[in-house]
Structure formats: C-alpha cells, structure tokens
Amino acid sequence: MTASESLRVVIVDDEPLARAIVREFLGKHADVEVIAECGNGFEAVKTVTELSPDLLFLDVQMPKLSGFEVLELVGREVPVVFTTAFDQYALRAFEVHAVDYLLKPFSEERFAEALSRARERVQAKAQGTPEPLDIAALASDARPKPALLERVLIRDGAQVHVIPVDRIDYVEAQDDYVCFKAEGKQYLKDQTLAAVETSLDSNRFVRIHRSYLLNIDRLARVELYAKDSRVAILQDGRRLPVSRAGYARLSKLL
C-alpha cells in the first residue's frame, strides 16, 4: 500500500450510533475511506462481495446473520476487526483470524491500535507474506469441540439462504459439492459431506450411505430391497439407498 492508495473500509453494525462512532474515529485518519455502511448481515455479504473492501469493522450480534456467519459466507480473506459488547466471542474471533477484537465501549486509542494492526495485515497481504497462524492454532487447540450448527448458510451469488437444521430432509454428495434438500428445495454448497456430517448433530443426522446424510425425523421406514441391500423410505415417499454400514449406524440410533 502506497500513500496515495487509501484503505477501503466497510462498517457493519445494526445500531446507527455504533456505526457513527467507528466513522467518527476513522475520520481522523486521512488514508482511510469508508466505502459503505451496512445495518445487517445480508447487506454486509452483498456489499463485501461486490466491493471487496480492504478492511471490515464487524458487529457480532445482528439480525439474520451474525458477524461470524457473514465472515463464513464472504470467505475469510478479508481482514476483520470485530466490535461487540460481548467478550465471549474473543477466542472464536482469533480462530477466524480476526485482526482485532474491540469491546464496546472502546477508546479512540484502542481503536487506533486496531487500525494500525489492520494496516500491517493489509500490507502483509499485499506483499504476499503469510500471516502468522500460531495464535489461531493455539486458540483452536484450547477450545472445546466446536458447537453444532443450528442453521446452514448458503450463498447464492449475493443472495444468502439460511436453513435451520430441523428443516433439512437430507444432504446428498454431488461431485465437489453437497446438496441440501429442505422443504422441497435444494441448495448447493461447496463443502464435503464428511465436513457437513461433523458439524451436524450426530443423534439426528445419520450417514446412511457414502453419498447420503439423512435427518432421521424424516425417515418413515427401512425396507429390504435385495439381499444385503436396503432402502430408506422417507415420509414424503422418496427412496434413498442404505449401505450395510449405514444400516448398522441407523439401527444403533433407532
């Protein structure tokens, strides 16, 4: 970054006053340009995708999408400074490589410190220096097992779908993607079925087949199809193959 280039910043917070104070503090730094402000997570995903800013000031608790969900959806390349009144997200913030974590209310000095850290990060990124990952690794070691997902987020261009897990019928592996079937619709996501399996409640979602993860609330019955081969019949009549190992897992749960 040279002196003529400015730091392009997006501010995301659902409270107008919280956005105002970030804007005010940034106003004293000539090399910073606020290119957009967003009042919710959906807007933030859209704006960041379209404008690809250098830095994001991101509130954690917002309507529709939390700050962490926004970050998951836009990819983690954009440097982020979290701003929140809650201290319990700090560890998670390090895991997603946040530049800094500002606890509301914060002082102008503390804010400037976060900003200069962000500048370093942006510069390092521009020069292709890999960022130090030790802290993140430590943090993820210290943290207990990640919490199970309550909802699955899927980005479709600038549009975001939020699917609560209890509305998912089943998940199907399709080449490099997984396909979530919920309420008669399907949503593609760039992820492996194994990764989906670990992030969902294993008492509820069973890997019945190499390519299928089933919500057992949707299961009507299991039928013997041929020797050693079974088929799961869902409540809506749909039929999914069940492997031998899958049947063993299913029987254990039922």
Partner: protein, 354 residues
C-alpha cells in the same frame, strides 16, 4: 430417635432426675412402710432407675397421639391405660426385686406392710408415668417450634439468596455496555443527546434499584420502568424499535412482584426486535377481571433466529418467581405464531387495600 436417648448429656440429666425420684420413693418407704433407710434405698433406687426406662415409652405414646389431631377422650383413655399398665409392670418388678433381696438376706422381714407397699408403688408409678407423658408433649411442642423456627430461617436465607441472584440477573451487563457505547458515540456528534441518554440510563437504573428492593409494587410503577427501559433502548436501535404500553382502567393499582415484566421486555428487544431486519413494536397490555390480572407482552420475532446464549433464562426466571409468590395461582404461557412471540402472565388481582 428418642430425644433423650439422642444425646448422652440428656440421658445423664434424665437419670439424675430419676435418682431424685428414687430418694423420694425411699423416704416414702421409710415413712409409710417403715423400712429403715438402708433397706429403703436398696429397694427404691434400682426400681426408680428401671422405671426411668419404662417411662421413656411415654414419648412414643405421645407421638402416636398428636394433641392437634386427637380427641381429648382418646388421649385421656390411652394415658390412663398406659399408666396403669406401666405401674402394674413396675409393681411386678418391685415384688420380684424384694423377693430377690429377701432371699439374699438383705431385707429383714419382707412381709412387713406389703399392702401399703403395693398401693404406694402403683400410685407413685401411675403419677410418674402421667408426668412423663406430659413432659413428652412439652418436648414435642418444643421440638416442633424449634423446627418451625429453623424452617422459617432457612426460608429467609433462600429468599435472600434468590433476591441477590435476581438482582444480578435483572440487568444484563451487555445492556449497560451497549448503552455506554451509544453515549460514547453521541458525545462526539450530539453532546446534548449524550447527556439526555445519561439521564435516561440513570433514571432507569435508580428506579430498578428502588423497585427491586420491595416485595410488591403497583403495576403502574412496573410499567413506568418498562417505559424508561424502552426509552434507553430506543436511543440505541432508533426507528427500528417501537414500544406500546396499554393499561386498562383499574389495573394500575394491582400489585405485582417488582421487575417481573422487565426481563420479558428485555427479551423482547434482544431476542425479538433486534433480530428482525425492519424492527418492530413491543406491546405490553394489562387487563383484569375482578379476581385475575392478565399481562401480555408481544413482539415480532424472526423464526430463523439463532437460539444461542441465554435463551429462555429470563422466562424461566419469571416463571420461578411467580410460582414462588403465588404457587399454582399464577400462570405463564409463552407461544410463537406467525413471527409473533407472545408471553402471557396471569395472576391473582390484588390491590393494597384488599
């Protein structure tokens, strides 16, 4: 466990009393039956100590007929029967004991005045057993009152703890942090508004402390507190947060536990309106029939909102407090329908005069 056998100190005191009884009996033997002192003591002391243990049974007799639930006739009848049986047993023991002593040659002329001895032992035994029964009732009453006292004390301690926990739970610290952040933001752009916000916040905090210290408050004060709370939150959320408090005539004077609505309205903001993009209005409605007070808190809610930290705590707290105050007389119903979250409280309508 028998209260006298429960502690060795009590047993010693009890037997000490019976030695005195033994000496009394001995003196009666000397004066009435004309034993000499040595012989009288030899007869009376062991008998008295043996009877001490017989009289312990009076406790169980008294326990089987609590004064509060037993008719006087039954008590008298049972007491007389038990006393007659006990004193008869004692008389039998006395005769055997005298026989043993006589056979050993420690008693001269055992036949002397046996008729007088029988009457004395029977009468004395009867009275002593009646006395034991009376003391047992006294003891039971004493224990009961001590137990009641202990229970009351424990109740007070529990209530106090609950109150403290409540005070901690009442105001979410994040509400404070966020409000302070708003003030910090306003200081730069609009100092007058920052000052107004400080005053609103102070007003709310002071009122919640004053109300929280009381046992019951008038509903209009609780509703006033809700107004103050919403005023503070409106500075943060701006246009997105609306509030509406509707109180029917006659509900203002009704008494409610303090800060019973505040956690519900706080939930309505943090788990309700704050998660809805376009925001919404929180409605608090209070109405009553002659005997019941009904308060409804309604707010728009996003059905897809994450249900993470602290969900359900405030509601559980309100439920527990109402149950503690009114037992089964109070009801809390929570429901969610078509994006509208609704909590209804129903409790007995009481006013200061009633």
């Amino acid at each position: 466990m028998h209260p006298i056998l429960a502690r060795s100190g009590r047993l010693a005191l009890y037997l000490g009393f019976w030695i005195v009884v033994g000496v009394l009996l001995a003196s009666l033997l000397v004066t009435q039956v004309r034993f000499d002192w040595r012989q009288a003591t030899l007869v009376a002391l062991p008998l008295a100590l043996a009877y001490a243990f017989v009289c312990l049974s009076a406790w169980y007799v008294s326990r089987s007929m609590p004064l509060a639930v037993t008719g006087a006739a039954r008590i008298v009848l049972t007491a007389v029967t038990a006393s007659v049986i006990s004193s008869s047993v004692w008389l039998l023991a006395a005769r055997i004991w005298i026989q043993i002593l006589a056979r050993r040659g420690w008693l001269t002329d055992p036949s002397r005045g046996t008729g007088g001895l029988d009457t004395l032992i029977l009468g004395f035994g009867f009275l002593l057993y009646e006395l034991s029964l009376a003391v047992s009732y006294l003891l039971a009453a004493f224990e009961a009152s001590r137990e009641a006292e202990r229970r009351a004390l424990r109740g007070q301690v529990l209530a106090r703890e609950a109150e403290l926990r409540l005070l901690r739970a009442q105001i979410d610290p994040h509400f404070l942090f966020n409000s302070l952040h708003s003030i910090s933001a306003l200081t730069g752009s609009d100092p007058a508004a920052a000052r107004r916000m400080c005053l609103l916040l102070a007003d709310f905090l002071r009122e919640s402390l004053v109300l929280g210290a009381q046992d019951r408050i008038r509903l209009d004060r609780e509703l006033g507190l809700i107004d103050r709370f919403l005023a503070v939150e409106r500075v943060r959320f701006g246009e997105r947060l609306g509030g509406q408090v509707q109180a029917e005539d006659g509900v203002q004077a009704c008494l409610v536990p303090p800060l019973i609505l505040q956690p519900l309205v706080e939930n309505a903001v943090t788990h309700g309106v704050a998660h809805v993009l376009e925001g919404g209005t929180i409605t608090v409605r209070a109405s009553r029939t002659p005997s019941r007070l009904t308060i409804v808190v309604e707010n728009p809610a996003d059905p897809d909102r994450p249900r993470g930290i602290g969900t359900g705590m405030g509601l559980a707290n309100v439920r527990a407090r109402l149950a503690a105050s009114y037992g089964t007389e109070a009801r809390v119903d929570a429901s969610e329908q078509a994006g509208l979250w609704r909590v209804e409280l129903s409790l007995p309508a009481t006013t200061e005069s009633s």
